[in-house]
């Protein structure tokens, strides 16, 4: 500490009471304790491992594994090495984590905004969702999805098939009903807003408007005859199976097969991305120089969707869909998503979404009300206020805990071991460890992988936080 550093002579204290000396002693003792503990652990481990014949090196890495894995992103068979099995597990972990992060983020943001909604139904639904899912162990939820929902599904022969949807022009009666109902709803809504009397009349008009919109929507989508229990004649028509099946062996979806011409579509996509980056840069410059704004979002969207679509049409649609077909007792063709994957993805994303929703809510609430009021006073409407004023400030609060949730999701994906999804822990720390007995090496490698993911993510996060930090804070 700063004792005696003002140029004056240091007060004479006994060595035992000198803070610096005591600090050195404490540190030396700590280091000695920790290091001797470590040394003892290593020494014991070496002795024990030798005594029990446990391997102490990584020779097993290149040996044939002899076991199969039911979901592999890279070529793998029981003739592959243990090292290959490690990569299979790691890629499966990353796959489920990546998809889970996307789904959880979308769901979490929707729920978070819903919790702040002025509408009671939306608010209550989001609250019940969040309070239920985050107060029940994730493992229980995974087991529920896997054992209570997916396992009792019918066998392939009796699969649940998603019907295809065709769009047709609604018949006259439906169209007329939809128009009349929408018109009535519109008038009732206007009446409700213009009345501004806060009485039962206004409430009735609001209910009337809502009912009107509901009737219009149903008539338009399912036809006027839907109200007498015979759907048909609306915009939507249910057709035969769409090629999506759900049964106790998993989820079957059509598998896209890319023909050589697809390279052109990919090329168009990269050109579109490059162009939109260039356009964004140009628009930002123009705004800085002249104040003129450009529709960056719209133009980029048009580029990124339009160019590949154009290439897709020009090359004659170089993608064919391979539909799953029932042959005998099982399906052939198509892409099979294992029930383990479906359960893990469902469990992880629904659980994490509840936490993300809370972070989003806290973030939006952290933005002072004066911010949106000032934005309104400047003439910004609700959309731009949220997009330009509230969300950018909320994001600074949301992002650190959001990253934390992503890391939690990645770490929680290790619960795969309980339902048999072949992730890093199940394949490597489970099967490989059991077969080779190389406990120390396998556990060290597994932990190192998760640690690397965590540290890399937090490092990036810290970098971002420093870039977006406000100068005065």
């Amino acid at each position: 500490m700063s004792s005696g550093e003002q140029g004056a002579e240091r007060p004479q204290v006994p060595l035992l009471h000198d803070p610096r000396f005591r600090g050195l002693v404490v540190q030396a003792v700590t280091a000695l304790c920790v290091l001797s503990l470590l040394w003892m652990a290593v020494d014991n481990a070496a002795t024990n491992m030798r005594a029990r014949g446990i391997p102490t090196n990584f020779d097993f890495w290149d040996r044939t594994s002899g076991f199969d894995v039911n979901q592999t992103l890279i070529a793998y068979s029981s003739l592959s090495t243990y090292g290959k099995a490690f990569w299979v597990g790691l890629l499966n972990t990353l796959l489920v984590a990546a998809i889970g992060v996307v789904v959880a983020t979308l769901l979490g943001f929707i729920l978070g905004v819903m919790r702040l909604s002025a509408n009671w139904a939306a608010r209550t639904f989001a609250s019940i969702y969040v309070e239920t899912l985050r107060n029940v162990p994730l493992l229980l939820q995974l087991l529920f999805w896997y054992n209570a929902i997916l396992s009792p599904l019918p066998a392939p022969r009796a699969s649940l098939a998603m019907p295809s949807v065709a769009l047709t022009w609604p018949d006259t009666a439906s169209l007329a009903l939809a128009l009349v109902a929408a018109g009535g709803a519109y008038l009732a809504g206007r009446f409700a807003r213009a009345r501004n009397e806060d009485d039962a009349g206004e409430v009735l008009a609001s209910v009337g408007a809502a009912l009107g919109w509901l009737v219009a929507l149903i008539a338009l989508l399912f036809g006027a005859s839907a109200f007498i229990g015979a759907p048909g004649g609306g915009l939507l028509h249910w057709g035969g199976p769409a090629g999506v099946y759900l049964n106790n062996r998993g989820l079957l979806i059509p598998e896209p097969r890319f023909e050589p011409g697809f390279d052109w579509v990919l090329a168009a996509l990269s050109v579109a991305v490059a162009l939109s980056i260039a356009f964004t840069w140009w628009a930002r410059r123009r705004q800085a120089l002249s104040g003129a704004q450009s529709q960056v979002g719209l133009v980029s969207l048009a580029l990124i969707l339009g160019l590949p679509l154009l290439a897709f049409v020009a090359t004659g649609g170089p993608v064919t869909l391979d539909y799953p077909v029932l042959r005998g007792f099982n399906f052939q063709g198509g892409l099979r998503v294992s029930p383990e994957f479906v359960a893990l993805l469902l469990g992880l994303s629904l659980y994490t979404a509840a936490f993300i929703a809370e972070e989003v809510r806290a973030g939006v609430q952290s933005v002072a009300k004066g911010q949106s009021e000032a934005a309104h006073a400047l003439g910004l409407r609700a959309g731009p206020t949220l997009r330009l004023v509230v969300l950018p400030q909320a994001m600074r609060v949301i992002l650190p805990p959001l990253t934390n949730q992503y890391l939690n999701l990645t770490k929680n994906s290790s619960l795969a071991v309980f339902i048999g999804y072949p992730d890093l822990v199940q394949v490597f720390m489970g099967t490989v460890l059991n077969q080779t007995g190389a406990a120390v090496q396998v556990i060290a490698v597994t932990m190192a992988v998760y640690l690397a993911i965590s540290l890399a993510t937090s490092g990036l996060m810290a970098l971002y936080a420093r870039r977006t930090a406000w100068a005065e804070r």
Binding site: P137, F144, E197, K411
Partner: protein, 376 residues
């Protein structure tokens, strides 16, 4: 220059009527359910969903549910609802697993003592919390160990740990985590904020390492590597290993919460304590920690909630916790069936939910009380 502009008023504007008093049920309904066509549409769809789903739920849980049945036959019948008789018949197993039935009073005594002590500590404004804490953190674990494991000296026959299981084992895992993680977390947090670089380095290394890896890997490590790290003659009990893992894991997370509390204490408190001539430990014990820990009570409860949910993972190293007993029971051939699985999971979910939700409400209440004290 004096000409009238069309947009300037020449006389005062008419007085507007006062705003209508906003209150009452009608107003609430209007603002919260029918604020506009979109809002009203959402409300209607929500109500329609409720009307559609409620009868099915009532039928599944009450009308079609099987309330009394000696085995799973009635529950497997087509159209049967929730199988409550499964819960009733297996409740004993869920609570104590294979713990010798004639010794079950020891478990009950432990649970009751834990409940009393927890209520003492959690009750805001309860008298002599210091004594309560000493009992909970020191006397209770020792007494529980003697009671549950048995001791020849006290005339209690031994009950080996491989017979332990069920809800009481989940409680043991959670309590051990709580008892060790608070002091461990405080020490680690102090280490991480220490001005001694070596102490800081080791504390930071440990915290970041444990927080960066999944709990399952910590459990695996404790289970397979702990026996390797100690002399072969020690061979730690199979229940002790995961308990060590739980304690280490919870301590690291607790340390970060406590650190946040330490950071929230103004520097003047430290300086004041030093000016009074207090030593480092007296300063921490008397001035800093009481304030820092109070600030982060909600965070600490949050860790406890996470810890309680994470106790389910000890099943990965073969410890039959509550959820594992549910798994075992639902696969019992005398019962097994789809509605039985669902009922079992719903029961387990309700159990965990009650505890976790209760704790989170408690932490909200504490947050409000603390905020009330700090308001100026």
């Amino acid at each position: 220059m004096d000409q009238h502009k069309a947009f300037l008023r020449t006389e005062p504007s008419p007085v507007l009527p006062p705003p209508v008093f906003a209150g009452g049920a009608v107003k609430w309904v209007q603002q919260n359910m029918l604020a506009g066509p979109g809002s009203a549409l959402f409300t209607l769809v929500g109500l329609a969903f409720l009307v559609w789903v409620t009868p099915g739920l009532v039928r599944y849980f009450i009308i079609d549910a099987v309330w009394t049945s000696p085995d799973g036959v009635a529950c497997r019948a087509p159209g049967a609802g929730a199988c409550w008789s499964f819960i009733a018949r297996k409740l004993d197993f869920f609570l104590y697993a294979s713990y010798p039935r004639e010794m079950v009073w020891r478990v009950n005594l432990c649970l009751a003592m834990g409940a009393v002590l927890a209520a003492w500590l959690l009750w805001p404004g309860a008298a002599r919390k210091g004594l309560g804490a000493a009992l909970f953190f020191i006397a209770y674990p020792v007494a529980s160990l003697l009671l549950l494991h048995g001791s020849e000296a006290l005339g209690l026959p031994k009950a080996p740990t491989d017979l332990w299981g069920g809800i009481f084992l989940s409680m043991i895992v959670a309590t051990v985590g709580i008892v060790f993680s608070l002091p461990g977390g405080v020490l680690l947090a102090l280490g991480r904020r220490s001005r001694l670089p070596v102490v800081r380095f080791f504390a930071t290394l440990f915290i970041e390492f444990v927080r960066g890896v999944p709990f399952i890997t910590v459990l695996f490590m404790a289970n397979t590597m702990l026996p390797l790290f100690v002399p072969a003659s020690w061979s730690p009990d199979r229940l002790v290993r995961p308990l060590v893992g739980v304690s280490l894991f919870a301590s690291a997370y607790m340390a970060e919460i406590v650190r946040a509390g330490l950071q929230a204490i103004p520097k003047g408190q430290t300086e004041g304590a030093m000016a009074l001539g207090l030593s480092y430990w007296s300063m921490m014990r008397l001035i800093i920690l009481p304030q820092a820990l109070t600030v982060v009570i909600p965070g600490i409860v949050g860790i406890f909630i996470g810890l309680f949910k994470d106790t389910t993972l000890v099943a990965v190293v073969g410890i039959p916790d509550f959820l594992r007993t549910v798994e075992t029971a639902r696969l019992d051939p005398a019962w097994a069936g789809p509605t039985i699985s669902t009922t079992g999971y719903l029961f387990a979910g309700a159990f965990y939910w009650v505890f976790c939700f209760g704790m989170s409400r408690y932490s909200l209440m504490m947050e409000r009380r603390l905020a009330a004290g700090r308001k100026r």
